[in-house]
Structures are given as structure tokens and as C-alpha cells.
């Protein structure tokens, strides 16, 4: 299935959880925040929520800023 990750189309195995997605991307869940289809996804739901075809995911982290 195809998801939109940070604005780019991306193939992903069906029913993959957000947590699993983060693992495939080598991101520690504690360091990132996730917006799913415009709404923030709480960390506790990373493991529960499975992705569906067409889901729009924003994966953000802290960077240097003023």
C-alpha cells in the first residue's frame, strides 16, 4: 500500500503500525512526534495504530532553532 510520509509517496507493508514504521526508519519513538492525517498521534498509540492506504504521515523532531 502507499502512504504519504513527510509529503512523499512511499510503499509500506499493509497494516504496519506506526511504531513498526519508525523502527524500519531507525527512529527512536521517544525522539519524534507523529501527525497522522492532520492530527497528532499520541505516543501511546504508536504501537496500536495501523496504517491504511493513503494515510498522510508527518514525522517531526527537534532541531536547532531560536
Amino acid at each position: 500500500m502507499t502512504i504519504v510520509l513527510n509529503g512523499e509517496d512511499r510503499e509500506a507493508p499493509p497494516d504496519i503500525t506506526v511504531l513498526a514504521l519508525l523502527e524500519t526508519l531507525d527512529y527512536a519513538p521517544g525522539r519524534v512526534a507523529v501527525e497522522l492525517n492532520g492530527d497528532v498521534l499520541r505516543r501511546v498509540d504508536f504501537g496500536r495504530r495501523t496504517l491504511r492506504d493513503g494515510d498522510r504521515i508527518e514525522l517531526v523532531q527537534f532541531v536547532g532553532g531560536g
Partner: protein, 259 residues
């Protein structure tokens, strides 16, 4: 000697200086500069992870979050909606309700869009955020931000990164006279130590800066200079300076001179 502490939303921070984490030559200089600044709060930006760069060093590896509080900002947002979304993501990433709220209204000057800023403030306050809005020195807006529940008012001294120092001391004085129930933290435009001292001498509760430190030839040394300047300015404010006079007043006695 005590210079009091900076209290935001009922929580006290030992230092009145808040520093940014952007534009440093590298993470290690940033780490040492933060340490030299003695800041108890540092701002961070919220950005999409760059999927092309896997792993590598991460900002948070260089910030001792046991000693400094993270203050996520909404830099780069040009609408209340963008700012609100970014604030929510920042809260999720940092697990804290603090947000330095920016709604930018002009690309060249990065001046705030006060109308959008007020909207975003109202929304985020409802959602339980501790909102620290970056604004200009407009007293009317400052009062509305306060009334909307902002935990502080953060007027700019001069355009972000300009290093011009406080451009309108009269407006800052007026702001400090009128805004008494939340802290006034001067944000942006400080270029060197005396700029920070002047701001504090005027009675500001704190100063927030980034480029002035990160862009200096020696950021660590400038960070230390800023820490001392903020303390010096605050102490001078508390000590009560002498009045200005056009003419001289002898500091040595006029009697007993050998003639």
C-alpha cells in the same frame, strides 16, 4: 548576589536568560555555549525528519535536559493554523506544554503577524499550553496577549538576527509599566552584551537570544558575556542607578585641598 529568578506560569527558572540552539558551527560548540550561558531554558525548532539522512547525530544528544528546559518554537509558521499544528507536534515530541509561539507576518523582517498570533494564542491556551508569544513592542497587542492567557509577552528588541539591540527604549519602558502580571521577556535583536544589559536595566524580566551568541566569532565566550550582562543589567535595575546630570559632581571632597 541574587538577581531573583524568572517565573513563568508559576514555575521558577534560575536564569533570566533563554538561549536558542540554531546556527551554531557544530553541536559541540552549541553544547558548550549553552553551558557557558547558564541558561535554564533553550529554544528548539520542530521540523520534519530528513528521511534521506538516516541516523547521525541528533540535537538532543547535546542538550542536558536534566538541567535545561526545552522550549519548542513555531518558527517559520505564517498562519495561526500552521503554528497551532507545529505547537501540538512540539508538545508531543517534548512532552511539555511550553511553546514559544511565532506567527510570522513578513518574510524579510520576520516581524510577527499579531492578528494570527492572538488567534493561535487563544486556541493553544484553551488546549492547556503555556504560551510564550513572540511579538513586537505594540502595547495594545501585548495587553490582548496577556488577556488571552499568554504566560508571558515577548517583544522583539529589533529584527531577528539583526543584532541592532533595543531600537525603541521608550516603547519597552511603556510596555514594562503597563504589563505587570506576566513577565516581559525581550526576544530577538540582541547583538552584544550591552544590548542585553540595557534591556535588563529597563526592567525586563528576561531576555531570549540566539544569533547574538551563535553567530559570534567565539560563541562560547559570547554566551558567557551574555550571562554576565543579563545579571549585571538586572542588578543595576535593582540597585537603582544615579540620576543623569549635564554637569559634574565632584567625587572627592572639596575641603582640605593643599593650596
Amino acid at each position: 548576589m541574587q538577581t531573583g529568578t524568572l517565573t513563568i506560569a508559576g514555575r521558577s527558572y534560575p536564569s533570566r536568560l533563554i538561549v536558542g540552539t540554531g546556527k551554531y558551527p557544530d553541536f559541540d560548540i552549541m553544547r558548550r555555549a549553552i553551558e557557558a550561558s547558564g541558561a535554564s531554558m533553550v529554544t528548539v525548532a520542530v521540523r520534519r525528519v530528513d528521511l534521506s539522512r538516516r541516523g547521525g547525530e541528533s540535537l538532543l544528544d547535546f542538550i542536558d535536559t536534566t538541567r535545561v528546559t526545552l522550549l519548542p518554537n513555531t518558527a517559520g509558521c505564517y498562519t495561526a493554523d500552521e503554528a497551532v499544528r507545529t505547537a501540538r507536534l512540539g508538545r508531543e515530541a517534548g512532552l511539555s506544554d511550553l511553546v514559544k509561539l511565532e506567527v510570522i507576518g513578513d518574510e524579510k523582517t520576520l516581524f510577527p503577524d499579531n492578528e494570527g498570533l492572538l488567534q493561535a494564542t487563544r486556541i493553544l491556551v484553551k488546549e492547556g499550553f503555556t504560551v510564550l508569544p513572540y511579538t513586537n513592542d505594540d502595547l495594545v497587542v501585548a495587553k490582548r496577549l496577556r488577556d488571552a492567557g499568554a504566560a508571558a509577552v515577548m517583544p522583539l528588541a529589533a529584527p531577528i538576527g539583526s543584532g541592532l539591540g533595543i531600537q525603541n527604549p521608550a516603547n519597552l519602558r511603556i510596555l514594562l509599566e503597563e504589563i505587570r502580571d506576566v513577565p516581559v521577556i525581550v526576544d530577538a535583536g540582541v547583538g552584544t552584551a550591552s544590548d542585553a544589559a540595557i534591556v535588563m536595566e529597563t526592567g525586563a524580566d528576561g531576555v531570549l537570544m540566539n544569533t547574538g551568541i551563535a553567530g559570534a566569532d567565539d560563541p562560547v565566550k559570547m554566551a558567557r558575556a551574555m550571562q554576565l550582562a543579563v545579571q549585571a543589567g538586572r542588578l543595576a535595575f535593582e540597585a537603582g542607578r544615579i540620576p543623569k546630570k549635564l554637569h559634574a559632581r565632584a567625587s572627592s571632597p572639596l575641603e582640605g585641598i593643599v593650596r
